[in-house]
Symmetry: C2
Subunit: 284 residues, 2 copies
Protein backbone atom coordinates (compact mmCIF):
# COMPACT_ATOMS: atom_id res chain seq x y z
CA UNK A 1 0.00 0.00 0.00
CA UNK A 2 1.53 3.30 -1.05
CA UNK A 3 1.56 6.28 1.31
CA UNK A 4 -0.81 8.09 -1.01
CA UNK A 5 -3.53 5.54 -0.38
CA UNK A 6 -6.22 6.15 2.22
CA UNK A 7 -6.62 3.96 5.29
CA UNK A 8 -9.81 1.94 5.24
CA UNK A 9 -12.41 2.55 7.95
CA UNK A 10 -13.41 -0.99 8.81
CA UNK A 11 -17.13 -0.89 9.55
CA UNK A 12 -17.38 -4.65 9.66
CA UNK A 13 -14.86 -4.90 12.51
CA UNK A 14 -16.33 -1.95 14.43
CA UNK A 15 -19.86 -3.33 13.99
CA UNK A 16 -18.67 -6.70 15.29
CA UNK A 17 -17.22 -5.09 18.42
CA UNK A 18 -20.38 -3.02 18.90
CA UNK A 19 -22.60 -6.08 18.58
CA UNK A 20 -20.41 -8.04 21.01
CA UNK A 21 -20.72 -5.27 23.61
CA UNK A 22 -24.43 -5.07 22.96
CA UNK A 23 -24.81 -8.82 23.37
CA UNK A 24 -23.00 -8.67 26.72
CA UNK A 25 -25.33 -5.89 27.87
CA UNK A 26 -28.39 -7.79 26.65
CA UNK A 27 -27.27 -10.90 28.54
CA UNK A 28 -26.73 -8.85 31.68
CA UNK A 29 -30.25 -7.38 31.41
CA UNK A 30 -31.73 -10.86 30.98
CA UNK A 31 -29.73 -12.16 33.94
CA UNK A 32 -30.66 -9.30 36.25
CA UNK A 33 -34.32 -8.85 35.34
CA UNK A 34 -35.44 -12.08 33.73
CA UNK A 35 -36.59 -9.96 30.80
CA UNK A 36 -34.83 -10.16 27.46
CA UNK A 37 -34.62 -6.94 25.39
CA UNK A 38 -37.14 -7.13 22.57
CA UNK A 39 -37.26 -5.40 19.19
CA UNK A 40 -40.54 -5.43 17.29
CA UNK A 41 -40.17 -5.36 13.51
CA UNK A 42 -43.13 -4.29 11.41
CA UNK A 43 -43.33 -5.22 7.74
CA UNK A 44 -46.10 -4.14 5.38
CA UNK A 45 -46.40 -6.23 2.23
CA UNK A 46 -43.83 -8.64 0.83
CA UNK A 47 -41.35 -6.54 -1.11
CA UNK A 48 -38.40 -8.94 -1.49
CA UNK A 49 -35.76 -6.41 -0.46
CA UNK A 50 -37.76 -5.41 2.63
CA UNK A 51 -38.33 -9.06 3.56
CA UNK A 52 -34.58 -9.65 3.30
CA UNK A 53 -33.71 -6.60 5.40
CA UNK A 54 -36.16 -7.56 8.14
CA UNK A 55 -34.86 -11.14 8.21
CA UNK A 56 -31.30 -9.85 8.48
CA UNK A 57 -32.25 -7.62 11.41
CA UNK A 58 -34.00 -10.50 13.16
CA UNK A 59 -30.97 -12.74 12.68
CA UNK A 60 -28.66 -10.11 14.11
CA UNK A 61 -31.01 -9.64 17.06
CA UNK A 62 -30.88 -13.37 17.73
CA UNK A 63 -27.07 -13.35 17.57
CA UNK A 64 -27.00 -10.51 20.11
CA UNK A 65 -29.43 -12.16 22.52
CA UNK A 66 -32.25 -9.75 21.67
CA UNK A 67 -35.72 -11.15 21.16
CA UNK A 68 -37.58 -10.09 18.09
CA UNK A 69 -41.29 -9.90 17.68
CA UNK A 70 -42.43 -9.78 14.08
CA UNK A 71 -45.60 -8.11 12.87
CA UNK A 72 -46.42 -8.81 9.23
CA UNK A 73 -49.22 -6.88 7.62
CA UNK A 74 -50.70 -7.31 4.13
CA UNK A 75 -49.74 -4.86 1.38
CA UNK A 76 -53.25 -3.38 1.38
CA UNK A 77 -53.00 -2.32 5.06
CA UNK A 78 -54.36 1.20 5.55
CA UNK A 79 -52.63 4.00 7.42
CA UNK A 80 -55.17 3.63 10.23
CA UNK A 81 -54.53 -0.11 10.56
CA UNK A 82 -50.76 0.39 10.53
CA UNK A 83 -50.97 3.19 13.10
CA UNK A 84 -53.13 0.94 15.30
CA UNK A 85 -50.64 -1.93 15.06
CA UNK A 86 -47.69 0.31 15.93
CA UNK A 87 -49.58 2.02 18.74
CA UNK A 88 -50.26 -1.40 20.25
CA UNK A 89 -46.52 -2.11 20.21
CA UNK A 90 -45.80 1.31 21.71
CA UNK A 91 -48.09 0.41 24.60
CA UNK A 92 -46.84 -3.16 25.04
CA UNK A 93 -44.44 -3.32 28.01
CA UNK A 94 -42.79 -6.46 26.59
CA UNK A 95 -41.57 -4.53 23.52
CA UNK A 96 -38.61 -2.19 24.08
CA UNK A 97 -37.89 -1.00 20.55
CA UNK A 98 -39.91 -0.69 17.36
CA UNK A 99 -38.68 -0.77 13.79
CA UNK A 100 -41.03 -0.04 10.90
CA UNK A 101 -39.39 -1.38 7.75
CA UNK A 102 -39.70 1.35 5.15
CA UNK A 103 -40.51 2.54 2.59
CA UNK A 104 -44.09 1.41 3.08
CA UNK A 105 -46.56 1.51 0.19
CA UNK A 106 -47.40 4.89 -1.36
CA UNK A 107 -51.01 4.66 -0.16
CA UNK A 108 -49.79 4.82 3.46
CA UNK A 109 -48.96 8.03 5.32
CA UNK A 110 -45.48 6.96 6.40
CA UNK A 111 -45.01 9.96 8.69
CA UNK A 112 -48.21 9.12 10.58
CA UNK A 113 -46.98 5.55 10.98
CA UNK A 114 -43.56 6.69 12.27
CA UNK A 115 -45.20 9.06 14.74
CA UNK A 116 -47.15 6.15 16.26
CA UNK A 117 -43.81 4.89 17.61
CA UNK A 118 -43.40 6.02 21.21
CA UNK A 119 -40.23 8.18 21.37
CA UNK A 120 -38.76 5.96 24.11
CA UNK A 121 -39.06 2.97 21.73
CA UNK A 122 -37.86 4.77 18.60
CA UNK A 123 -34.62 2.82 18.34
CA UNK A 124 -34.48 3.45 14.58
CA UNK A 125 -34.51 7.23 15.17
CA UNK A 126 -37.28 8.04 12.71
CA UNK A 127 -39.74 10.11 14.75
CA UNK A 128 -39.97 13.88 14.78
CA UNK A 129 -39.07 13.82 18.48
CA UNK A 130 -35.83 11.97 17.71
CA UNK A 131 -35.03 14.36 14.86
CA UNK A 132 -35.47 17.39 17.10
CA UNK A 133 -33.42 15.76 19.85
CA UNK A 134 -30.59 15.28 17.35
CA UNK A 135 -30.96 18.91 16.30
CA UNK A 136 -30.86 20.20 19.86
CA UNK A 137 -28.26 17.79 21.22
CA UNK A 138 -30.78 16.35 23.68
CA UNK A 139 -30.90 12.75 24.90
CA UNK A 140 -32.75 10.47 22.54
CA UNK A 141 -32.23 7.91 19.84
CA UNK A 142 -30.35 8.80 16.69
CA UNK A 143 -31.15 7.65 13.18
CA UNK A 144 -29.16 4.46 12.80
CA UNK A 145 -27.06 5.23 9.74
CA UNK A 146 -25.98 8.71 10.91
CA UNK A 147 -25.37 7.19 14.34
CA UNK A 148 -23.17 4.55 12.73
CA UNK A 149 -21.27 7.24 10.84
CA UNK A 150 -20.55 9.14 14.07
CA UNK A 151 -19.30 5.96 15.75
CA UNK A 152 -16.98 5.28 12.80
CA UNK A 153 -15.61 8.83 12.94
CA UNK A 154 -15.01 8.49 16.67
CA UNK A 155 -13.43 5.06 16.36
CA UNK A 156 -10.86 6.53 13.96
CA UNK A 157 -10.33 9.65 16.13
CA UNK A 158 -11.47 12.04 13.43
CA UNK A 159 -11.38 15.61 14.72
CA UNK A 160 -14.66 17.33 13.87
CA UNK A 161 -14.59 20.64 15.73
CA UNK A 162 -14.04 23.51 13.30
CA UNK A 163 -13.69 21.17 10.31
CA UNK A 164 -15.71 21.61 7.15
CA UNK A 165 -18.15 18.74 6.83
CA UNK A 166 -20.12 18.37 3.61
CA UNK A 167 -23.19 16.14 3.54
CA UNK A 168 -24.43 15.22 0.07
CA UNK A 169 -28.09 14.24 0.45
CA UNK A 170 -30.86 15.56 2.66
CA UNK A 171 -33.19 12.68 3.43
CA UNK A 172 -35.07 12.71 6.72
CA UNK A 173 -33.27 9.65 8.08
CA UNK A 174 -29.78 10.07 6.65
CA UNK A 175 -28.53 13.36 5.24
CA UNK A 176 -30.43 15.77 7.45
CA UNK A 177 -29.76 14.06 10.77
CA UNK A 178 -26.12 13.36 9.80
CA UNK A 179 -25.63 17.10 9.27
CA UNK A 180 -27.27 17.93 12.61
CA UNK A 181 -25.07 15.42 14.46
CA UNK A 182 -21.93 16.83 12.81
CA UNK A 183 -23.08 20.36 13.68
CA UNK A 184 -23.58 19.23 17.27
CA UNK A 185 -19.93 18.20 17.27
CA UNK A 186 -18.89 21.68 16.13
CA UNK A 187 -18.20 20.98 12.48
CA UNK A 188 -19.02 23.70 9.93
CA UNK A 189 -21.67 21.81 7.99
CA UNK A 190 -22.78 22.21 4.37
CA UNK A 191 -25.80 20.37 2.98
CA UNK A 192 -25.66 19.61 -0.77
CA UNK A 193 -28.41 17.91 -2.78
CA UNK A 194 -29.91 17.45 -6.21
CA UNK A 195 -30.44 21.18 -6.68
CA UNK A 196 -26.90 22.17 -5.71
CA UNK A 197 -25.46 23.96 -8.73
CA UNK A 198 -21.73 23.42 -8.26
CA UNK A 199 -21.39 20.19 -6.34
CA UNK A 200 -17.71 19.75 -7.19
CA UNK A 201 -16.85 23.11 -5.63
CA UNK A 202 -18.69 22.22 -2.44
CA UNK A 203 -17.18 18.72 -2.22
CA UNK A 204 -13.70 20.15 -2.66
CA UNK A 205 -14.13 22.12 0.59
CA UNK A 206 -14.83 19.00 2.65
CA UNK A 207 -12.48 17.90 5.40
CA UNK A 208 -15.16 15.32 6.14
CA UNK A 209 -17.44 14.18 3.34
CA UNK A 210 -20.62 12.19 3.88
CA UNK A 211 -22.11 10.86 0.65
CA UNK A 212 -25.72 9.83 1.09
CA UNK A 213 -27.32 10.30 -2.25
CA UNK A 214 -27.92 6.84 -3.71
CA UNK A 215 -26.24 7.36 -7.08
CA UNK A 216 -23.37 5.04 -8.06
CA UNK A 217 -19.95 6.74 -8.12
CA UNK A 218 -21.67 10.13 -8.09
CA UNK A 219 -18.83 11.83 -6.20
CA UNK A 220 -15.70 12.09 -8.33
CA UNK A 221 -12.37 11.11 -6.88
CA UNK A 222 -10.73 14.25 -8.26
CA UNK A 223 -13.06 16.40 -6.10
CA UNK A 224 -11.84 14.88 -2.84
CA UNK A 225 -9.66 17.29 -0.86
CA UNK A 226 -6.25 15.74 -0.14
CA UNK A 227 -6.33 14.28 3.36
CA UNK A 228 -10.13 14.33 3.63
CA UNK A 229 -12.15 11.72 5.50
CA UNK A 230 -14.65 10.12 3.13
CA UNK A 231 -17.76 8.40 4.46
CA UNK A 232 -19.73 6.63 1.76
CA UNK A 233 -23.24 5.85 2.95
CA UNK A 234 -24.40 4.85 -0.52
CA UNK A 235 -25.13 1.30 -1.49
CA UNK A 236 -26.02 0.85 -5.12
CA UNK A 237 -26.50 -2.22 -7.34
CA UNK A 238 -23.24 -4.06 -7.91
CA UNK A 239 -21.89 -3.26 -4.43
CA UNK A 240 -20.99 0.25 -5.53
CA UNK A 241 -21.09 3.29 -3.28
CA UNK A 242 -21.86 6.93 -4.02
CA UNK A 243 -18.16 7.77 -4.26
CA UNK A 244 -15.67 6.78 -6.96
CA UNK A 245 -13.72 4.69 -4.47
CA UNK A 246 -10.49 4.21 -6.42
CA UNK A 247 -10.12 7.88 -7.26
CA UNK A 248 -11.10 9.02 -3.77
CA UNK A 249 -8.77 6.56 -2.03
CA UNK A 250 -5.79 8.18 -3.79
CA UNK A 251 -6.54 11.49 -2.09
CA UNK A 252 -8.39 10.77 1.18
CA UNK A 253 -6.69 10.01 4.48
CA UNK A 254 -9.52 7.71 5.60
CA UNK A 255 -12.33 6.16 3.58
CA UNK A 256 -15.13 3.68 4.16
CA UNK A 257 -15.29 0.76 1.76
CA UNK A 258 -18.57 -0.35 0.19
CA UNK A 259 -19.55 -2.86 1.35
CA UNK A 260 -18.05 -3.18 4.83
CA UNK A 261 -18.06 0.49 5.83
CA UNK A 262 -21.22 2.29 6.90
CA UNK A 263 -23.60 -0.59 6.11
CA UNK A 264 -22.74 -2.94 8.98
CA UNK A 265 -22.82 -0.04 11.45
CA UNK A 266 -26.48 0.71 10.77
CA UNK A 267 -27.71 -2.58 12.20
CA UNK A 268 -25.16 -2.44 15.02
CA UNK A 269 -26.60 0.92 16.14
CA UNK A 270 -30.13 -0.46 15.90
CA UNK A 271 -29.21 -3.30 18.25
CA UNK A 272 -27.29 -1.06 20.65
CA UNK A 273 -30.20 1.37 20.85
CA UNK A 274 -32.65 -1.48 21.46
CA UNK A 275 -30.60 -2.47 24.48
CA UNK A 276 -30.39 1.19 25.58
CA UNK A 277 -34.18 1.34 25.36
CA UNK A 278 -34.61 -1.87 27.35
CA UNK A 279 -32.25 -0.60 30.06
CA UNK A 280 -34.22 2.62 30.45
CA UNK A 281 -37.62 0.96 30.36
CA UNK A 282 -36.52 -1.61 32.90
CA UNK A 283 -35.11 1.09 35.16
CA UNK A 284 -31.50 -0.10 34.98
CA UNK B 1 -27.78 56.40 -4.43
CA UNK B 2 -24.96 54.98 -6.55
CA UNK B 3 -25.44 51.80 -8.55
CA UNK B 4 -22.93 50.05 -6.34
CA UNK B 5 -25.16 50.43 -3.28
CA UNK B 6 -27.46 47.65 -2.19
CA UNK B 7 -31.22 48.03 -2.17
CA UNK B 8 -32.69 48.02 1.32
CA UNK B 9 -35.10 45.26 2.32
CA UNK B 10 -37.75 47.20 4.15
CA UNK B 11 -38.89 45.01 7.02
CA UNK B 12 -40.91 47.79 8.60
CA UNK B 13 -43.08 48.16 5.51
CA UNK B 14 -43.47 44.42 4.95
CA UNK B 15 -44.33 43.91 8.62
CA UNK B 16 -46.95 46.67 8.38
CA UNK B 17 -48.58 44.95 5.40
CA UNK B 18 -48.42 41.58 7.15
CA UNK B 19 -50.02 42.99 10.30
CA UNK B 20 -52.75 44.72 8.24
CA UNK B 21 -53.62 41.45 6.52
CA UNK B 22 -53.52 39.68 9.88
CA UNK B 23 -55.82 42.27 11.44
CA UNK B 24 -58.31 41.82 8.60
CA UNK B 25 -58.26 38.06 9.14
CA UNK B 26 -58.64 38.47 12.90
CA UNK B 27 -61.63 40.76 12.41
CA UNK B 28 -63.22 38.25 10.03
CA UNK B 29 -62.77 35.46 12.58
CA UNK B 30 -64.38 37.59 15.28
CA UNK B 31 -67.26 38.51 12.96
CA UNK B 32 -67.92 34.96 11.86
CA UNK B 33 -67.48 33.10 15.14
CA UNK B 34 -67.90 35.67 17.89
CA UNK B 35 -64.50 34.52 19.17
CA UNK B 36 -61.48 36.80 18.98
CA UNK B 37 -58.09 35.16 18.37
CA UNK B 38 -56.15 35.10 21.64
CA UNK B 39 -52.42 34.93 22.34
CA UNK B 40 -51.32 34.00 25.84
CA UNK B 41 -48.02 35.54 26.90
CA UNK B 42 -46.12 34.00 29.80
CA UNK B 43 -43.51 35.98 31.67
CA UNK B 44 -41.36 34.62 34.50
CA UNK B 45 -39.78 37.28 36.69
CA UNK B 46 -39.40 40.96 35.90
CA UNK B 47 -36.31 41.26 33.73
CA UNK B 48 -36.74 44.76 32.24
CA UNK B 49 -35.95 43.71 28.66
CA UNK B 50 -38.39 40.80 28.87
CA UNK B 51 -41.08 43.04 30.36
CA UNK B 52 -40.61 45.47 27.47
CA UNK B 53 -40.73 42.72 24.83
CA UNK B 54 -43.93 41.25 26.27
CA UNK B 55 -45.59 44.68 26.46
CA UNK B 56 -44.63 45.35 22.85
CA UNK B 57 -46.13 42.04 21.76
CA UNK B 58 -49.34 42.77 23.67
CA UNK B 59 -49.59 46.23 22.09
CA UNK B 60 -49.14 44.78 18.61
CA UNK B 61 -51.78 42.16 19.37
CA UNK B 62 -54.21 44.91 20.38
CA UNK B 63 -53.46 46.83 17.18
CA UNK B 64 -54.20 43.72 15.14
CA UNK B 65 -57.45 42.91 16.91
CA UNK B 66 -55.94 39.93 18.75
CA UNK B 67 -56.75 39.48 22.43
CA UNK B 68 -53.89 38.85 24.76
CA UNK B 69 -54.00 37.00 28.00
CA UNK B 70 -51.06 37.65 30.24
CA UNK B 71 -49.68 35.21 32.79
CA UNK B 72 -47.05 36.69 35.07
CA UNK B 73 -45.11 34.40 37.36
CA UNK B 74 -42.58 35.28 40.05
CA UNK B 75 -38.87 34.84 39.36
CA UNK B 76 -38.68 31.91 41.79
CA UNK B 77 -41.25 29.86 39.82
CA UNK B 78 -40.11 26.25 39.49
CA UNK B 79 -40.04 24.22 36.30
CA UNK B 80 -43.01 22.19 37.57
CA UNK B 81 -45.05 25.32 38.28
CA UNK B 82 -44.21 26.83 34.90
CA UNK B 83 -45.03 23.60 33.10
CA UNK B 84 -48.35 23.46 34.94
CA UNK B 85 -49.20 27.04 33.98
CA UNK B 86 -48.37 26.45 30.33
CA UNK B 87 -50.21 23.12 30.27
CA UNK B 88 -53.32 24.91 31.54
CA UNK B 89 -53.06 27.34 28.63
CA UNK B 90 -52.51 24.47 26.20
CA UNK B 91 -55.78 22.96 27.42
CA UNK B 92 -57.75 26.21 27.52
CA UNK B 93 -60.00 26.44 24.44
CA UNK B 94 -60.10 30.25 24.71
CA UNK B 95 -56.34 30.48 24.09
CA UNK B 96 -55.19 29.93 20.51
CA UNK B 97 -51.50 30.69 20.74
CA UNK B 98 -48.91 30.60 23.54
CA UNK B 99 -45.72 32.59 23.83
CA UNK B 100 -43.25 31.93 26.64
CA UNK B 101 -40.99 34.95 26.89
CA UNK B 102 -37.45 33.63 27.09
CA UNK B 103 -34.79 33.22 28.28
CA UNK B 104 -36.31 32.13 31.57
CA UNK B 105 -34.17 31.88 34.70
CA UNK B 106 -31.30 29.40 34.73
CA UNK B 107 -33.00 27.32 37.46
CA UNK B 108 -35.81 26.46 35.04
CA UNK B 109 -35.67 23.67 32.46
CA UNK B 110 -36.59 25.86 29.49
CA UNK B 111 -36.98 22.91 27.12
CA UNK B 112 -39.50 21.27 29.46
CA UNK B 113 -41.43 24.54 29.59
CA UNK B 114 -41.44 24.88 25.80
CA UNK B 115 -42.61 21.28 25.40
CA UNK B 116 -45.67 22.03 27.56
CA UNK B 117 -46.93 24.19 24.70
CA UNK B 118 -49.38 22.18 22.59
CA UNK B 119 -47.95 22.01 19.04
CA UNK B 120 -51.17 23.48 17.59
CA UNK B 121 -50.69 26.56 19.84
CA UNK B 122 -46.93 26.88 19.29
CA UNK B 123 -47.20 30.14 17.35
CA UNK B 124 -43.65 31.09 18.39
CA UNK B 125 -42.28 27.90 16.79
CA UNK B 126 -40.20 26.78 19.77
CA UNK B 127 -41.28 23.18 20.34
CA UNK B 128 -39.45 20.09 19.14
CA UNK B 129 -42.49 19.24 17.01
CA UNK B 130 -42.27 22.60 15.24
CA UNK B 131 -38.51 22.16 14.72
CA UNK B 132 -39.00 18.73 13.15
CA UNK B 133 -41.85 20.03 10.98
CA UNK B 134 -39.49 22.74 9.67
CA UNK B 135 -36.86 20.09 9.05
CA UNK B 136 -39.22 17.80 7.17
CA UNK B 137 -41.21 20.48 5.32
CA UNK B 138 -44.40 19.45 7.11
CA UNK B 139 -47.26 21.78 8.09
CA UNK B 140 -46.67 23.51 11.39
CA UNK B 141 -45.57 26.79 12.87
CA UNK B 142 -42.14 28.19 12.10
CA UNK B 143 -39.84 29.98 14.51
CA UNK B 144 -40.81 33.63 14.13
CA UNK B 145 -37.49 35.20 13.18
CA UNK B 146 -36.60 32.57 10.55
CA UNK B 147 -40.18 32.79 9.33
CA UNK B 148 -39.80 36.56 9.01
CA UNK B 149 -36.55 36.09 7.08
CA UNK B 150 -38.26 33.77 4.59
CA UNK B 151 -41.08 36.27 4.09
CA UNK B 152 -38.55 39.04 3.44
CA UNK B 153 -36.69 36.89 0.91
CA UNK B 154 -39.95 36.08 -0.85
CA UNK B 155 -41.17 39.68 -0.83
CA UNK B 156 -38.00 40.68 -2.68
CA UNK B 157 -38.23 37.70 -5.08
CA UNK B 158 -34.90 36.26 -4.00
CA UNK B 159 -34.21 33.03 -5.87
CA UNK B 160 -33.10 30.36 -3.39
CA UNK B 161 -33.02 27.12 -5.35
CA UNK B 162 -29.44 26.04 -6.01
CA UNK B 163 -28.01 29.15 -4.35
CA UNK B 164 -25.39 28.98 -1.62
CA UNK B 165 -26.91 30.13 1.65
CA UNK B 166 -24.67 30.62 4.66
CA UNK B 167 -26.18 30.86 8.13
CA UNK B 168 -23.87 32.24 10.80
CA UNK B 169 -25.24 31.06 14.13
CA UNK B 170 -26.87 27.83 15.21
CA UNK B 171 -29.34 28.63 17.98
CA UNK B 172 -32.40 26.45 18.34
CA UNK B 173 -34.82 29.23 17.46
CA UNK B 174 -32.87 31.17 14.86
CA UNK B 175 -29.84 29.75 13.09
CA UNK B 176 -30.78 26.09 13.00
CA UNK B 177 -34.38 26.54 11.84
CA UNK B 178 -33.35 29.26 9.36
CA UNK B 179 -30.97 26.78 7.74
CA UNK B 180 -33.64 24.07 7.61
CA UNK B 181 -36.14 26.44 5.98
CA UNK B 182 -33.55 27.51 3.39
CA UNK B 183 -32.70 23.86 2.74
CA UNK B 184 -36.40 23.16 2.26
CA UNK B 185 -36.37 25.80 -0.46
CA UNK B 186 -33.50 24.00 -2.23
CA UNK B 187 -30.62 26.25 -1.21
CA UNK B 188 -27.22 24.66 -0.60
CA UNK B 189 -26.91 25.53 3.09
CA UNK B 190 -23.80 26.00 5.22
CA UNK B 191 -23.98 26.44 8.99
CA UNK B 192 -21.16 28.51 10.54
CA UNK B 193 -20.70 29.22 14.24
CA UNK B 194 -18.24 30.08 16.96
CA UNK B 195 -16.04 27.07 16.19
CA UNK B 196 -15.84 27.71 12.46
CA UNK B 197 -12.16 28.15 11.67
CA UNK B 198 -12.26 30.25 8.51
CA UNK B 199 -15.46 32.25 8.72
CA UNK B 200 -14.40 34.73 6.04
CA UNK B 201 -13.93 31.95 3.49
CA UNK B 202 -17.38 30.55 4.23
CA UNK B 203 -19.08 33.96 4.16
CA UNK B 204 -17.46 34.74 0.81
CA UNK B 205 -19.31 31.79 -0.73
CA UNK B 206 -22.73 33.11 0.26
CA UNK B 207 -25.25 34.14 -2.36
CA UNK B 208 -27.59 34.55 0.61
CA UNK B 209 -26.12 35.34 4.01
CA UNK B 210 -28.05 35.10 7.27
CA UNK B 211 -26.18 36.61 10.21
CA UNK B 212 -27.63 35.44 13.52
CA UNK B 213 -24.77 35.51 15.93
CA UNK B 214 -25.36 38.50 18.25
CA UNK B 215 -21.95 40.16 17.87
CA UNK B 216 -21.83 43.76 16.65
CA UNK B 217 -20.44 44.15 13.09
CA UNK B 218 -19.03 40.62 13.32
CA UNK B 219 -19.36 40.00 9.56
CA UNK B 220 -16.95 42.15 7.58
CA UNK B 221 -18.17 44.06 4.55
CA UNK B 222 -15.18 42.90 2.50
CA UNK B 223 -16.29 39.28 2.91
CA UNK B 224 -19.66 39.86 1.24
CA UNK B 225 -19.80 38.33 -2.23
CA UNK B 226 -20.68 40.97 -4.83
CA UNK B 227 -24.40 40.79 -5.52
CA UNK B 228 -25.19 38.76 -2.39
CA UNK B 229 -28.39 39.11 -0.39
CA UNK B 230 -27.55 39.99 3.22
CA UNK B 231 -30.00 39.29 6.02
CA UNK B 232 -28.88 40.69 9.34
CA UNK B 233 -30.83 39.11 12.18
CA UNK B 234 -28.54 40.60 14.80
CA UNK B 235 -29.58 43.37 17.09
CA UNK B 236 -26.85 44.64 19.36
CA UNK B 237 -26.57 47.62 21.72
CA UNK B 238 -26.50 50.88 19.83
CA UNK B 239 -28.86 49.66 17.09
CA UNK B 240 -26.03 47.77 15.45
CA UNK B 241 -26.45 44.51 13.57
CA UNK B 242 -24.13 41.54 13.16
CA UNK B 243 -22.95 42.82 9.79
CA UNK B 244 -20.76 45.83 9.01
CA UNK B 245 -23.63 47.52 7.21
CA UNK B 246 -21.71 50.22 5.34
CA UNK B 247 -19.11 47.85 3.98
CA UNK B 248 -21.67 45.17 3.11
CA UNK B 249 -24.01 47.62 1.39
CA UNK B 250 -21.27 48.48 -1.10
CA UNK B 251 -21.17 44.89 -2.30
CA UNK B 252 -24.60 43.33 -1.66
CA UNK B 253 -27.55 43.55 -4.05
CA UNK B 254 -30.08 43.52 -1.19
CA UNK B 255 -29.55 44.08 2.52
CA UNK B 256 -31.71 44.42 5.62
CA UNK B 257 -31.15 47.53 7.71
CA UNK B 258 -30.85 47.33 11.51
CA UNK B 259 -33.28 48.37 12.84
CA UNK B 260 -36.14 48.10 10.40
CA UNK B 261 -35.18 44.84 8.69
CA UNK B 262 -35.66 41.46 10.32
CA UNK B 263 -36.79 42.81 13.71
CA UNK B 264 -40.28 44.03 12.80
CA UNK B 265 -40.95 40.81 10.88
CA UNK B 266 -40.55 38.65 13.99
CA UNK B 267 -43.61 40.06 15.72
CA UNK B 268 -45.55 40.18 12.45
CA UNK B 269 -45.04 36.43 12.03
CA UNK B 270 -46.07 35.84 15.65
CA UNK B 271 -49.36 37.65 15.05
CA UNK B 272 -49.97 35.97 11.69
CA UNK B 273 -49.38 32.53 13.20
CA UNK B 274 -51.69 33.32 16.13
CA UNK B 275 -54.46 33.99 13.62
CA UNK B 276 -53.53 30.83 11.68
CA UNK B 277 -53.85 28.90 14.94
CA UNK B 278 -57.22 30.46 15.76
CA UNK B 279 -58.53 29.66 12.28
CA UNK B 280 -57.55 26.02 12.60
CA UNK B 281 -58.82 25.63 16.16
CA UNK B 282 -62.12 27.26 15.25
CA UNK B 283 -62.47 25.00 12.21
CA UNK B 284 -62.36 27.81 9.64
Amino acid sequence: MSTSTARLMDGTALARRTVEETAARAAEITRRTGTTPCLATVLVGADPASVTYVKMKQNRCAQAGIRSRHVELPAETTTEELVAAITALSEDPEVHGILLQHPVGPHIDERAAFEAIAPEKDVDGVTMASFAAMGFGLPGFVSCTPGGIMRLLDAYDVELSGKRAVVVGRSAILGKPAGLLLLGRDATVTYCHSRTTDLSAAVREADVLVAAVGKPRFIKGEDIKPGAVVIDAGYNPGNVGDVDFDGAAERASLITPVPGGVGPMTIAVLLAQTVDAAERQLGL
